[in-house]
Amino acid sequence: MTRLMNRRELLKGVPWAVGAGIAASAIWLPGCQQPLAPLKVSSHVWVGYELMFLARELGYFSNDLIKLVEVPTNSASMMALSNREVGMAALTLDEFLLAREGGVDVKAVLVFDESAGADAVLVKPDIRRLADLKGKRIGLESSAVGALMLAKLLESADLRLSDVQKVEVSLDRHLEAFRDNEVDAIITFDPMAQQVREAGGVVLLDSSQFPGLIVDVLVAYGDALTENPAACRALLSGYFKAAAFMRDKPQEAARLMAPRLRLPASEVAVAFERIRIPDIVHNQRWLGGHAPQLINAARSVGDILLQAKLLRAPPTLSAFCDPSYLPEAV
């Protein structure tokens, strides 16, 4: 009889269990199974960004999580970001500041590289000194980097903007413009800089002379991050794994990266020599801590951009960078 009673009590619970199951499944279904579109990251071709593509090539992150959108120029990248066609973009620090001022609510989650010669002012061989630039045509992309380099160039050469002739050349036409003598000098960066160099360009000034000025960052919309934090983490983790891969197998890495950079594999390493890639620990310093390095850099750059009237006001630096998506330092 006791057995029967137990069974009876057991049966009594069944409908409640079924009901609870239905309710639970109603809650569980959307929570766990939501299919998310891959987090899109736009970038143009820049050696500092290349480890990201190496990671894709090596399969270090899933294409379901991250979709790398290759745009022709950093302006296109900025536009894609502004239009929210992408959730993340690889930008230079100055572009980042400009974007923020333009109401694009993004923050930095990674510092790709610090230009140490990758950005350069290449001139025709006949120009030997900075002062020789006076009255010359200087080609440059209408970007913040261009403005930045120009500002530094003028500062170094002790010239004014009126002393030179500024020619706007889109990045993809830098080589062409230089070769065709449309300009006397070109402010460009690797790998274009290398190509220009090969075309007889002489480096008059490069970014190695202004450390911490030209910094490439990965920026992201805050809501895109909260929507799919795993994708961002996967991207950064893959990025640093690719960096490790390049360290271990530089030649293999160079071979894989060469087609995109449109460089012979042998020159890939050279290109990387002109930038400094901070590792995870350095990235922590750039992005985290009491006084993130990036904030300092942003202030400096902000000042220059302000002087160049590229910025209308000093940049607001709240919610500027977020180190929380960086992988644990090994």
Binding site: M1, R8, L11, K12, V14, P15, W16, V18, G19, I22, A23, S25, A26, I27, L29, P30, Q33, Q34, P35, A37, P38, K40, S42, V45, F53, D64, K67, V69, E70, V71, P72, T73, A76, M79, A80, E85, V86, S170, D172, R173, P259, R260
Partner: protein
């Protein structure tokens, strides 16, 4: 098959129905979504391709930057897996991946069919394909490069290829459709739970509680509260239960019996009683224990045996058992019936134990009473037997007394009558004649009186027996007419028989019938008027024969008739100087009754009386009884035989003298006498007399023994012997006949009859 619980299957059926409906709805909706998705994706795809083609058609290579930006934008959209521009030689000019530029189309898009590419190059229209699963679709369209400086018309053509993967979009569609159903699902769950709750609260819960109540009831907890709750039907059920419970409780209270349920091993499963003092121990202590543990071994064995019988027969009644319980020593009657619990095969037994102590005691008392009674009956029987024996002995003594009295009265009367007759015969003087006649008349009266008194006494004491045989009525009537003739003559009364010559036979004792009829005739003559007449009539009716004797006397009043058959009532006979004993009619009635007949009288005062006899009619030979030898008729033909020798054996000298006197009066008869039997026997052998008159009451040996000797002797065997005795009892006469006596003459001797006998028996054939 086990029926599932209402509480389970009703919600489950409802749930299943909900699920089926929901799933159908979702599937249909998804199908619609998918069609829509495909439609939209195709439109987008073709639009993307058209955009690139339009730009390339006019702008290549001038607007390469713009085309690249557009291509990047297109490639950046979620479903796009490939966006490639290549020339007719298959070299990639532009792609979503910078690394692909300059490579062969067959390297980067190995799945792209060459024939399809060729076909597209010929056409201007886009060519699009969707995979069978609807997840992958792509489109390819050609465009013309701007004509070279030396060309009028572009000679080279390029191609734009865009591919979509809809997997994610479809997944998102499914997801969004499913999440859109969440309110439905939650609603469904709520309805389901609500249903379960309602069902539980109003139906299955109350039913479950009723089930437990039923369980308790079956365990005998009859004072349990039955909850009345839930749906109306369930409440009705509960009411029915309550009624049943009250019935059961009342029945149980009214029943003086104990009820147990035990299993096959005699273990108590249930104990119910309203009289706990009859239980060996309290019900709680009985449950779960075996009869072996609580009852004495012998009683337990009996219970086990009863259970085994019930297992075989289904039910057993009337097994009696005595137990010591708190109420004392009690007898129980066990009734056991087997039952099987629903759903199991294990039999249990319902035992009703009835207190039959009172009945048992009563039985014992009754048995004791019976025994006492039997003892008393035996005692009484013995007493009665003793009394009967004594009565019989007394009766015997009375009979002997009567017999002796009869003998003792007759013997002196014999002498009186005999000698008076002799005197009358010898005297010639009319004075003396007159005196002797008076003596004879008185003697005859006395004799009749004695005979009748004796007869009546015998009838009254039940000693009178009749031997019923067939009797011819006409014979009896004729005989009686002869016998009554002298008396009638004296009274000058004419006696006539009418219609009595017919062949009528009745069942009667001849002697007694004659006695009765003679008595009636004698009365008719005596009470008749001088010179009157008596008529005898016979007739048969309804198997009965009636004999009427009608006189012309004064008749009888009703009061007379009432006293008529009472002994010693003589009516007015005394006043009328008519002699009689007053016994005749009383005796007649007794005799008629003995013969299964009847006697009666029809009379009116002044018109005479008509007495009737009623007897059962019969046919001759119906009664196998030897007819009594009829007394030979007196023949007065005057033949004088020569010397005839008569031997008389008689010890009484007075009687002997009478016989000698009578014999002397008969011419040609010589008498020899012997006073002792031995002497008589010797004389019979020596002289071979013609007739022997043998007294029965003889010294040495009685007349029967003498008769036997005579019969055993060849010389004396054929001599007729007449018994002469004062033993006038009927059995004496019978005994005499069977002993071989020719006739029987009773004392006092009727002289004329004796003379007739001697005459008749000694007549020699001529």
């Amino acid at each position: 098959m086990k029926q599932p619980s209402l509480r389970i299957w009703l919600p489950l059926v409802f749930l299943a129905a909900l699920i089926v409906v929901s799933v159908s709805s979702v599937v249909y909706s998804l199908h619609r979504y998918q069609s829509q998705l495909e439609q939209n994706a195709r439109d987008d795809l073709l639009s993307d391709v058209a955009r690139l083609v339009r730009m390339a058609d006019r702008g290549w290579p001038v607007n390469q930057g713009l085309i690249a930006a557009d291509l990047a934008q297109i490639a950046g959209t979620t479903p796009v897996t490939a966006a490639v521009v290549f020339d007719e030689d298959g070299v990639v000019l532009m792609a979503q991946r910078v690394a692909w530029v300059g490579r062969r189309m067959s390297d980067v898009l190995p799945y792209l069919d060459v024939a399809r590419v060729q076909k597209t190059l010929q056409s201007r229209a886009p060519d699009w394909i969707i995979s069978a699963d609807g997840l992958h679709l792509d489109a390819i369209q050609s465009f013309a490069f701007m004509p070279g400086a030396k060309e009028v018309r572009a000679s080279r053509r390029g191609l734009v290829y865009v591919a979509y993967d809809l997997t994610l979009m479809r997944r998102q569609a499914v997801y969004s459709e499913l999440t859109g159903r969440i309110p439905d699902v939650i609603g469904m769950a709520l309805i389901f739970l609500g249903l379960v709750w309602l069902l539980g609260r109003h139906v299955t819960g109350p039913i479950g509680r009723l089930d437990r109540v039923a369980e308790d009831l079956s365990r005998g907890h009859l004072d349990i509260h039955i909850p009345k709750e839930g749906a109306r039907e369930v409440q009705l059920l509960a009411e029915g239960f309550e009624e049943l419970r009250q019935d059961l409780a009342a029945t149980w209270r009214a029943m003086p019996d104990l009820l147990f349920e035990v299993d096959a091993h005699g273990r108590y499963l249930r104990v119910m009683t309203s009289r706990p003092e009859l239980l060996v121990t309290s019900p709680d202590q009985l449950i779960g224990r075996s009869v072996d543990e609580v009852l004495p071994a012998q009683a337990a064995a009996l219970v086990h045996q009863t259970l085994a019988d019930a297992a075989l027969k289904g039910g057993v009644w009337g097994q009696e058992i005595m137990l010591d319980v708190p109420a004392g020593q009690v007898w129980f009657e066990l009734s056991v019936a087997r039952k099987v619990r629903p759903g199991t095969l294990v039999p249990t037994y319902l035992v009703i134990s009835r207190d039959i102590t009172a009945r048992k005691r009563m039985q014992e008392t009754l048995a004791k009473l019976n025994e006492e009674l039997e003892l008393r009956v035996t005692e009484r029987t013995n007493e009665l037997l003793k009394a009967k024996n004594e009565a019989e002995r007394a009766n015997q003594a009375k009979s002997e007394f009567l017999s002796r009295m009869s003998h003792e009265l007759r013997t002196p009367l014999n002498a009186i009558m005999g000698f008076a007759q002799l005197l009358q015969l010898s005297s010639k003087e009319s004075g003396q004649q007159n005196y002797t006649q008076q003596i004879l008349s008185g003697g005859a009266h006395l004799l009749t009186l004695i005979n009748e008194v004796l007869d009546l006494a015998r009838v009254e004491s039940g000693q009178m027996t009749v031997s019923l045989e067939w009797v011819k009525v006409s014979g009896v009537v004729r005989e009686c007419l002869e016998l009554i003739a002298p008396q009638a003559q004296t009274r000058q009364v004419r006696v006539t028989a009418h219609a009595c010559d017919t062949e009528l036979y009745v069942r009667a004792d001849q002697v007694r019938l004659k006695q009765v009829l003679l008595n009636l005739l004698s009365n008719a003559v005596k009470f008749n008027t001088q010179g009157g007449s008596v008529d005898i009539n016979c007739h048969a009716q309804d198997g009965q024969v009636y004999i009427y004797v009608k006189d012309q006397g004064p008749g009888l009043t009703d009061a007379d008739r009432a006293k008529l058959f009472v002994p010693f009532e003589r009516l007015d006979a005394d006043q009328r100087q008519i002699e009689g004993t007053g016994i005749g009619l009383a005796l007649s009635r007794r005799l008629m009754q003995l013969m299964s007949g009847d006697i009666g009288v029809d009379s009116e005062p002044g018109r005479g009386a008509s007495f009737w006899l009623k007897l059962e009619r019969t046919e001759p030979g119906v009664i196998k009884v030897a007819p009594a030898p009829m007394p030979g008729e007196v023949v007065r033909d005057g033949v004088t035989p020569s010397d005839r020798l008569v031997l008389c054996v008689e010890d009484n000298p007075t009687n002997l003298q009478l016989i000698e006197t009578v014999m002397r009066m008969m011419p040609g008869v010589r008498l020899m006498t012997a006073t002792l039997p031995s002497q008589g026997l010797a004389m019979a052998r020596d002289h071979h007399p013609d007739l022997i008159l043998l007294d029965i009451n003889l010294p040495e040996m009685d007349g029967f023994a003498v008769m036997q000797c005579l019969r055993e002797d060849a010389q004396t065997r054929d001599i007729p012997v007449v018994a002469v005795s004062a033993n006038a009892m009927a059995q004496d006469l019978e005994r005499g006949r069977s002993a071989g006596f020719a006739d029987y003459v009773t004392k006092p001797i009727d002289v004329s009859r004796l003379m007739r006998l001697v005459e008749e028996l000694t007549r020699r054939p001529d």
